[in-house]
Symmetry: C2
Subunit: 439 residues, 2 copies
């Protein structure tokens, strides 16, 4: 019988990790989830496939070009490209079953047929939280969101990061006060400041018909730096009597005022008047998060306040505020930069290795350890001892316990530390205690 071998490979642009890296990735995902849950966010899980008309209700653009269509039967179906559209659909559909403010988290894969390039993935995890109000949502929520970001990134092992905030109303109001017809034109240019520099931004503004005086004002405006209090003072001293502008300044003042109460240290947040984020979506507070030691990674957690989540699916007004972490990209970048490493990462604390004829004793030891919630793996194959030790090393398992006649007759076990080679002779209680202490 001749056999056809199909080359085992995955599609380009898809991430697949070794088990070792996967453990580290899952640990990151668990940390994010735990923090989201700690603040009262509830889990949802929506279908990966949805009706195309639902996913594209907002109307095409870039999204439509990147969407993966699914074919089976006659219904037009596609894979979700973010977790926001499914949230909007979910809230509109289950409106009467939900308690508002509705706090949900959603950690799941999304799909985008992006151009294939290093570090860009076509299947990736997003980890989102949103707080959705029914008709209205207090501005204090906008201050709780950064406290979730803070708590999460601290737990992920970071210390030196900055949550940059702005308020879209400040931008819209200020540009309108200059008589700029379409503030989006200015925002789009200003948003690129970090990437393309001041000169190119000026060129773009001129090309869009903004007059020189206004450009000067805009440059002065985006040049406002300092502590949050100083920036708010500077904004107030501009003496702009534009309603939207004033509302924005008031909101950001409230958010900053509450941040301290939420326990976010001053060194971990800042105001930045150049941040605009998604142009046609956010309407108030916006967030970006920068790892200060690795600014090239860009924002690792972004989001903001929006007026109306689900206007394409319901007439209910549902304002909200939320953030998203692109977990797959973040993990890839952290590993590439050597910031995290899966080396020596492990789940099993010990590899139990029975000598020939002592598998019964080995199995019983492993069973006892697991009964005490100590993760333990047993090596059941026939092989030389060196190969078995090598197996423990390869899997990063920190201890091995070899089981033979001595262990059987004495009831004492020898734990070998696979890093130092150090051996400790212990009773079963001693083994349990020692292995419990490892992290």
């Amino acid at each position: 019988m001749s056999k056809n071998i199909v080359k085992p490979s995955i599609l380009p642009g898809f991430m697949e990790l070794t088990p070792q890296s996967q453990m580290l990735f899952n640990n990151m995902m668990d940390t994010v989830r735990k923090n989201y849950e700690k603040f009262g966010f509830l889990p949802i899980d929506t279908p990966v496939i949805e009706k195309t008309e639902v996913l594209l209700a907002k109307g095409g653009g870039e999204t439509e070009k990147q969407i993966y269509r699914v074919v089976k039967g006659s219904t037009e179906m596609s894979l979700r490209f973010d977790l926001t559209v499914p949230l909007a659909r979910y809230v509109a559909q289950h409106y009467s079953e939900l308690a508002f403010p509705f706090r949900r988290y959603h950690i799941a894969k999304v799909y985008r047929g992006e151009r294939n390039q290093r570090g860009r993935f076509r299947e990736f995890y997003q980890a989102d939280i949103d707080i959705i109000g029914n008709g209205s949502l207090d501005i204090i929520n906008d201050a709780e969101i950064p406290s979730v970001i803070y708590s999460t990134f601290k737990d992920l092992g970071f210390d030196n990061f900055t949550i940059r905030m702005n308020n879209r109303k400040i931008l819209t109001g200020f540009f309108s006060s200059l008589g700029v017809e379409d503030p989006h034109v200015v925002m789009r240019a200003v948003d690129k400041l970090e990437k393309i520099g001041l000169e190119k931004v000026t060129e773009e503004l001129l090309a869009n018909g903004i007059d020189k005086d206004s450009i000067e004002s805009i440059i002065g405006f985006i040049g406002i730096k300092g502590s949050p209090a100083e920036i708010i003072d500077s904004l107030n001293s501009l003496n702009i009597e534009h309603e939207v502008f004033l509302e924005g300044v008031k909101e950001i003042g409230t958010v900053v005022g509450y941040l301290k109460l939420f326990g976010v240290p001053e060194k971990n947040y800042a105001l930045d008047l150049t941040i605009a984020r998604g142009l046609d979506y956010y309407t108030g507070t916006v967030y970006e998060t920068i790892l200060n030691d690795y600014p090239d990674i860009g924002s690792v957690c972004s989001g903001g306040r929006y007026d109306d989540l689900a206007s394409h699916y319901t007439n209910q007004k549902l304002p909200g505020v939320g953030i998203s972490i692109g977990l797959t990209r973040l993990f890839y970048q952290l590993e590439e930069a050597g910031i995290i490493s899966s080396e020596n990462y492990h789940l099993s604390k010990v590899l139990v290795i029975p000598m020939e004829g002592y598998s019964a004793e080995g199995i019983q030891l492993a069973a006892k350890l697991r009964a005490e919630d100590v993760y333990a793996q047993i090596y059941l194959e026939d092989a030389k001892l060196g190969k078995k030790f090598n197996y423990a090393d390869k899997l990063g398992i920190p201890y091995v316990a070899v089981i033979g006649e001595e262990e059987k007759s004495s009831g004492m076990y020898t734990l070998r530390n696979m890093k130092t080679g150090e051996q400790t002779r212990l009773s079963i209680e001693g083994v349990i205690q020692k292995l419990r202490e490892i992290h």
Copy 2:
């Protein structure tokens, strides 16, 4: 501006839960994962979309009809329909990076365009473990698998369940010893015994050209009942000198012998000579798991031993043994039968409700609790107290703490039990301690 409202709905055959039920589902998934990890199984996560030629390497049949095709660009892509094919591809592809025996778990969604009927889902979670050997894999592994099933279902809250086992070699060997040309024909018929009854099985065997004497022997064979030891005795006393049969009997004897050492109680396993499972896949031990109080649910965890995992992707011989739990279907059935309920299930231990003007104190209390790992949610909206209490009830949050002038000035907090109405006045340390005790 006229607005087009798209009806918010999902595709038929897809499960979507309320946040309350989702918490319960996630808890079930976490329990399964924890047990898998405790036994040294490592996580993998493969792309949901794969090349169609990879997914269908084994060749079509029912699978091909149920597959969801994905369209984007020119590559033929599809959604995975199980986790076994991706495992085979993964092991073949990453062969040189893996340590064997390779123990992996995989908990993820798979897709099958099944006929739409109640309790059948087109997107569902599978929770699989497999142990893959490089060239060979010791039979003791076949005894460890039931110990994982036992540990998992105990932790899921079940006590009265039976892991039914058989060995395909016993069946193949026995039917061959009768001179049956294609033992699969008999197995296919016998496999239906529980569903269609003895009479119909006999009819099917006759229709397939099995002679009456053989049928009588087969009926005698599948009538063998008793404890594992009794069944093995009966099999031995059949005095069948067929090599494959004898190997099967020896294997099942070894497995049963080791089960006790692995800590599986006798009441939780049984031998059942009528079990065959997937016909063209398993080659040795096979498993089914029945919740004895709910036999109608059918097997909740099935699997077995196979000779060669990845023959379509590599010439390496990779024998293995594994099981799968269909989590979505299991959850649906348990909830439908009222065996599990999400009522009063919660993540947040307390809802902090600040009175008007006391949000600062409320926020600080919530922040302190979270810093001590107590899950706490704060209610920040302007609303009447009754509405806020109702919110806690709706979310199943067990305690509320109202924060006002008294709490501010005394530093003492009143926890109200939302079920009993009982109120307890406590210091912050007391609040932390009390909330930590709740499960």
